[in-house]
Amino acid sequence: MYQYDDYDRRIIVERAQQFRGQVARRLTGEITEEEFKPLRLQNGLYMQLHAYMLRVAIPYGLLSSTQVRKLAHIARTYDRGYGHLTTRQNIQYNWPKLTDVPAILDELASVEMHAVQTSGNCVRNITADHFAGIARDELEDPRPYCEILRQWSTFHPEFAHLPRKFKIAMTGAPGNDRAAVRFHDIGVRIVENAQGERGFEVLVGGGMGRTPLIGEVIREFLPKPHLLSYIESILRVYNLHGRRDNKYKARIKILVSALGIDEFRRRVDEDWEASRTPALELPDAEVARVSAFFAPPPYQVLPADDQVGVIQLGRDRVLGNWVSNNVDAHKVPGYSAVVISVKQPGIPPGDVSDTQLDAIADIADRYSFGHVVVTHTQNLVLPDVRTSELPRLHAELRALDLGEANANKITDVITCPGLDYCDLANARSIPLSLEIAARFDRVDYLNDVGDVSIKISGCINACGHHHVGNIGILGIDKRGEEFYQLMLGGSPGNDASIGKILGRALAQDEIVDAVEKVLDRYLEIRESPDERFLDAVRRVGFDPFKVAVYGSADPLDAGGD
């Protein structure tokens, strides 16, 4: 993985020192909260309902075991013994004291980590396919380009005060988008043109939030050397013309849809032609230098036999089920990618304790060349596990309560912090998620229902990605009380779609029953066990599900909200 050079190290250490001074001035009252707020936000420090929250950046989700140990140490020493994995492949701490934050930033800097640009109207942490570098369906590893974008966007002076936050995601597997690139301000897919050359397809104007939109292609094929200059032009047009008068209309997606993609593209091209300089061209040597940090680990040459299939069909059903659900194909024979589910019954999704983090670091060292990846689904990946070691690894993970066999299943719920923590929330998310986990924690049911994504957000900001859940749940506020809208039909991947509201909002004690009714109806109407939930919804429409939940497909009964 990438190693900081002197410049990276210096800017992060200096930033931590500056923040130490700012905190000291805030604590003496020399600066007010109003003055301090923009400073703390630039360092990833939010004020939530009960405490501060510090969000730590994990570029493209990749962590070394040394960093994981440091995260465990911070959780134990400065927080309440756990961290929370986020949908941007980051980790956040829910209980740091302001007085401790400078020390935490120093600790992070010591392992080449920081919290800058995890908040505020700037380019946020750049996310990527969590199987980057190892997926069989990948054309090319996107992480060197993510890293180049990270360096370019860090403290970029022109883009420090954008109209709104800005999110970029990248995938190198154009046929299987695991990074939801169509739902980002900019999505980048590594593609091959008719001549067999590699380059980037660039999408713009996707996003969730109040106005969910699927990104549109602004450039079908961008030659690799132009990555920075072209993205810079997109950002410049947005910076100049994006709305600053209304924060709900300030994201780039609103500008793109107001202008239309053709006019937006024309403006970007105009800027690009005028501003392109050789200084922004990516030299092959620099790409090669950065790529070297992501060179494959020293894999052993192993036979390409089907050990996974043998384990799946073996006598140990618990192990077989875990391998079926949580182990993915690896491009190197004899190796597998393992998803560690951080969705355990009774525990808030994505919450991982200090002891678990320490143990995961040790496991990563012993099984996966010391690397761990955070997924945007709030789980962890061990990217490079020898398939023959899966049984032993599974036993170790189970002993840590990390052996759930539910990746991509209904209990693998993406859940935002919601009203238990978040200052912006309308309703709680985590208790629903826990109720869903408890209600459907039956192996046969889970496997019968198959791959169904449930995603829950506590407000319209959509951190829980409810718009792209096959089943989405959105918390709303009705006169100070919590209600939930149920949505069906969303998908974040290559078949991207935005879920639609099924009917009237449901009370807290109705919503999980409604999910169960929807799933039961799916089991009744699917054409075969191979027909996925999403395909069934697309085939039959909403009426059978409205009848199941509201007793009628009549819009007056199902209600509108």
Partner: protein, 91 residues
């Protein structure tokens, strides 16, 4: 009146004597909005070192118990409704 303590971000409740408590049970009550607003303005100016963003909320008060009227403020008063990984919160 509520806000968050600057030092650790904990939920703060203003006592009748103008000092700040960590328990809602100790909060002072205002019976009309203008007085509450005036106190909030004063607190924002004079107590800004100790407290971030003070504001008034509506509560139901009976027999010494203070019950906020919204889910949000009830959760602020009582803490997250879910089990924490280390529930004691002390270190």
């Amino acid at each position: 009146m509520t806000g968050n303590f600057t030092e650790d971000g904990a939920v703060a409740w203003r006592r009748a004597d103008g000092t700040w408590a960590r328990q809602i049970a100790e909060a002072g009550l205002f019976v009309d909005e203008p007085t509450a607003k005036a106190a909030a303005t004063r607190a924002a100016a004079q107590e800004q070192r100790e407290i971030c963003d003070p504001y008034g909320i509506e509560v139901h008060a009976e027999g010494g118990a203070i019950d906020p009227l919204t889910a949000r403020q009830r959760i602020r008063a009582n803490g997250p409704t879910i089990r924490l990984r280390r529930p004691d919160g002390e270190r």
